[in-house]
């Protein structure tokens, strides 16, 4: 039951359109700071492009995918028309207006502050207002997901919430709470300075507030991917979910431990005490738990599909998997990259190991690997899987889809592996320019060149993806039938209250936020001597 197809399609199309543009910017950045191009002589252009790339890829693109997918999940899995359709369109409109409001000053060079804001850098207030509008638009989605689930629960007392919706609402709550950190930073720290009401800013407090958002936002990006692992992949390859309970536990664990760990992004910051850094480091380790549970459950689910197809032996079943199926390919690629990205993440979260790679290109390589590949490749899979149901037209060219996924996978390896390597060699991040004739940097030239070539492969893949979706709109009309999510081997008959709602886990999430963030925030907010003069960017002197 998918009624509001235009709503979902609008979210997806806007998401993929801005993704395509930001992808071009990313490739340009890789190109002009590589040895393949002479220096453009004006770093401002680089940082302008970087701000646009990060803002779109970090805030606009994944939020739109999560929202569109969330609306589809709500209608399909609850089998009820979306409540608050007008509100949903209003949220979409806010994101459109917000994205434009933010991108105009960025294009004019009035807000080259990078998407993480970097106070005391201060850009045009319209940039921040635009980001706020995007967040507010997404909060409408959070509220709608909650309301839709609530209405369904009233009508179906005691019935287990379908897994896709359970996970979807968990993701929306995670986002609702984690976005509060950046919202506080924008409203109370940055905007007053951007509007000229204050000339100083507490950069340390701003960074701590941003870290509240910065890590859990990754898990918000990850949610559609994990939902696809559990509820699309097993069905698409002809299998079943190995354990419904395991899936629910994974999602509620994300809710609890994704949030109180963000200070591992400020290991090198002097304004946070070492004790809190240690706590956050330790809690970061627990985030591996839901991921390990998921890897185990999905591997088991995939094995079920393989054995149903006649697979034999301890590992021989892998060969009988439907490798020609793009979803199978996507999940395999995603898992490989999740493995590499997770291993790199263990280094970033360790208080001591982090010092060797802090602020180097390793970090940039790391989050491109995790987000760009493990996560985004499943966004492609979600689009491929839902598209026929959204457009009532078949996606027939499986070969082209496989080529696209392969290109993305190979492109990401070629881009990010050398990127990690130059980080280990000590190449700093956020630099617009490297002098490759310098003996200290010359050995890194070949790796950076490889990364740039990877960027071109990714661009080709991204454009191919958009082409495949565009072409589908011209295919003959065809009824795709009812959309189904995967079902568990043992479908839940009744689940404990704790796994059918969020109250307990939300309480723990907020509780841990207070214990892990309360003191550092209160201390910086109450002290008077922690502000520094703001540095205005792009303002005429």
């Amino acid at each position: 039951m998918l009624i509001n197809k235009r709503l979902v399609l609008a979210h997806f199309w806007l998401a993929f359109a801005v993704f395509g543009l930001a992808l071009l910017l990313g490739a340009w950045q890789m190109f002009i700071r590589s040895p393949l191009h002479t220096w453009i002589s004006n770093p401002e252009w680089y940082y302008r492009s970087l701000t646009a790339h990060g803002t779109v890829m970090g805030y606009v693109f994944p939020t739109l995918v999560a929202m569109g997918f969330g609306y589809a999940i709500s209608e399909i899995s609850l089998k009820q028309p979306l409540i608050g359709r007008r509100w949903a369109w209003a949220g979409f409109l806010l994101i459109v207006v917000g994205a434009i409001t933010a991108m105009v000053p960025v294009s004019l060079g009035r807000a080259s502050v990078l998407y993480t804001f970097y106070p005391p850098l201060i850009g045009s207030p319209f940039y921040y207002l635009g980001v706020v509008l995007v967040v507010v638009g997404s909060w409408i989605w959070v509220a709608l997901m909650s309301i839709n689930l609530h209405v369904w629960k009233k009508a179906n007392p005691g019935v287990p919430v379908p897994l896709p919706m359970f996970a979807n609402v968990a993701g929306s709550y995670l986002w609702g709470w984690t976005a509060v950190g950046a919202a506080l930073e924008l409203l109370f720290q940055i905007l007053p300075v951007a509007f000229g009401l204050k000339a100083t800013i507490d950069a340390g407090l701003s960074r701590v507030l941003f870290s509240w958002t910065l890590h859990a936002i990754v898990y918000f990006w990850l949610m559609p991917t994990y939902i696809a692992y559990y509820t699309i992949v097993p069905r698409a390859i002809g299998g079943k979910i190995y354990s419904d309970t395991m899936a629910r536990i994974s999602f509620i664990l994300f809710l609890v431990v994704a949030m109180p760990i963000g200070i591992h992004h400020t290991f090198a910051d002097p304004q946070v005490g070492a004790g809190f850094k240690f706590i956050h480091s330790a809690f970061t380790a627990f985030v591996a738990l839901p991921t390990f549970l998921t890897v185990f459950t999905i591997c088991a689910s995939v094995e079920i599909a393989a054995r149903l197809r006649g697979g034999r032996g301890p590992l021989g079943w892998v060969r009988t998997l439907p490798w020609s199926n793009p979803i199978m390919l996507a999940v395999a690629f995603s898992f490989v990259m999740l493995g590499f990205g997770g291993a790199g993440g263990l280094i970033n979260m360790s208080y001591q190991l982090d010092t060797t790679i802090h602020n180097t290109q390793w970090i940039t390589g790391h989050f491109h690997l995790i987000f760009g590949d493990a996560i985004v490749i499943m966004y492609f899979a979600i689009a491929y899987d839902l598209w026929p149901h959204l457009t009532d037209r078949a996606l027939t060219d499986l070969r082209l889809m496989r080529i696209q996924l392969w290109l993305w996978f190979v492109g990401m390896i070629v881009t990010t592996f050398p990127w990690h390597w130059v980080g280990i060699l000590g190449m700093p991040r956020r630099m617009a320019y490297f002098d490759y004739t310098d003996p200290a940097v010359a050995p890194q030239a070949i790796s950076v060149t490889l990364s740039a070539i990877g960027g071109f492969i990714l661009t080709a893949s991204g454009l191919l993806f958009i082409l495949i979706l565009l072409r589908s709109h011209r295919a003959p009309r065809e009824d795709a039938g009812a959309y189904r999510f995967a079902v568990a081997v043992h479908p839940p008959v009744s689940v404990p209250a704790a796994l059918n709602g969020y109250a307990l886990w939300l309480a723990l999430m907020i509780g841990l936020t207070v214990t892990n963030y309360g003191f550092p925030i209160a201390q910086l907010a109450l002290r008077e001597d922690t502000s520094v003069p703001a540095v205005y960017v792009g303002a005429t002197p």
Partner: protein, 272 residues
């Protein structure tokens, strides 16, 4: 339903909360007690001191007397409000005082003796240098005797007068030369910011003079003085750190290029 959830009889509640609190307790113990004591360099007065130190409570600074710098430091605090709006009397008084400066800096503020051209220079710049000459933060055999006899209002008036004078274009035959790399890009690997990011062409920072049309010999001599440490009235060693890392060739290029530019092209103005 949630009534049943939040009771100790519900294993999901008791275990969920219990495990979370347990992890929290262990990490707090590790972060606030074990780790501080594991650091031999950390001098702790007791358990509470260890906890405060790990929580990031600022510690009182050491009571030992701070290290005194050798040589005098600038006492001028440069703010964007430094060049206060000049009254006509100030400019007039400044003009009278400036008679004694004309022999080097030129009767119209344009030097023929390879001294700095002062016509149209930012008031904050002139004021700060005079003040530094007077206090001894900057030393020059010719300038120091002049500056020691000036009062603070005198300096402000002199600054106002020179800021009031129009910049003279002068004769700049090779101004179409493209800017050298050091001026436009700096040298990121040596931590050298582009000259233009403070001194104009790209941007101007309060307290930095514009350099267009200044005598090449003067600019080069100042860069060499910063590099050798003979001049040290720059704020937080900004110029010394840059000049020390510049090659002699880059100093030549920057000085020659700025000298070749007409000062009327300076498009950045200081905030009034």
């Amino acid at each position: 339903m949630s009534d049943d959830l939040f009771t100790r009889r519900n294993p999901w509640f008791s275990r969920g909360v219990g495990i979370t609190l347990g992890i929290l307790a262990v990490t707090v113990l590790g972060g606030f007690v074990l780790l501080p004591y594991a650091q031999p360099d950390l001098k702790l007065a007791g358990l509470w001191d260890a906890i405060c130190s790990a929580a990031g409570v600022p510690r009182t600074p050491s009571s030992a007397t701070p290290v005194q710098p050798d040589g005098k430091l600038t006492r001028v605090v440069v703010t964007s409000a430094l060049p206060a709006a000049a009254a006509p009397e100030a400019v007039g008084h400044g003009a009278t005082l400036a008679q004694q400066c004309a022999i080097c800096h030129g009767p119209t503020g344009v030097s023929r003796a390879d001294s700095l051209n002062l016509a149209g220079q930012y008031a904050a710049v002139v004021y700060k240098q005079l003040m530094d000459f007077k206090t001894g933060a900057r030393v020059n055999a010719i300038m120091t005797p002049f500056a020691v006899n000036l009062s603070e209002p005198d300096m402000a008036d002199l600054a106002a007068y020179y800021a009031y004078l129009p910049k003279l274009p002068g004769y700049h035959p090779s101004q179409e030369k493209s800017a050298p790399r050091i001026v436009m890009n700096g040298a990121p690997l040596r931590n050298i910011a582009p000259c233009g990011s403070c001194h104009g062409a790209l941007d101007n920072k309060t307290g930095s003079p514009w350099l267009e049309g200044q005598p090449a010999a003067y600019v080069k001599a100042q860069l060499q003085a910063f590099a050798s440490g003979n001049r040290r009235n720059d704020i937080s060693q900004q110029m010394r750190n840059i000049a020390r890392r510049m090659t002699p060739q880059e100093m030549d290029e920057a000085a020659e290029w700025y000298a070749s530019q007409p000062p009327t092209l300076v498009h950045t103005t200081m905030r009034e």
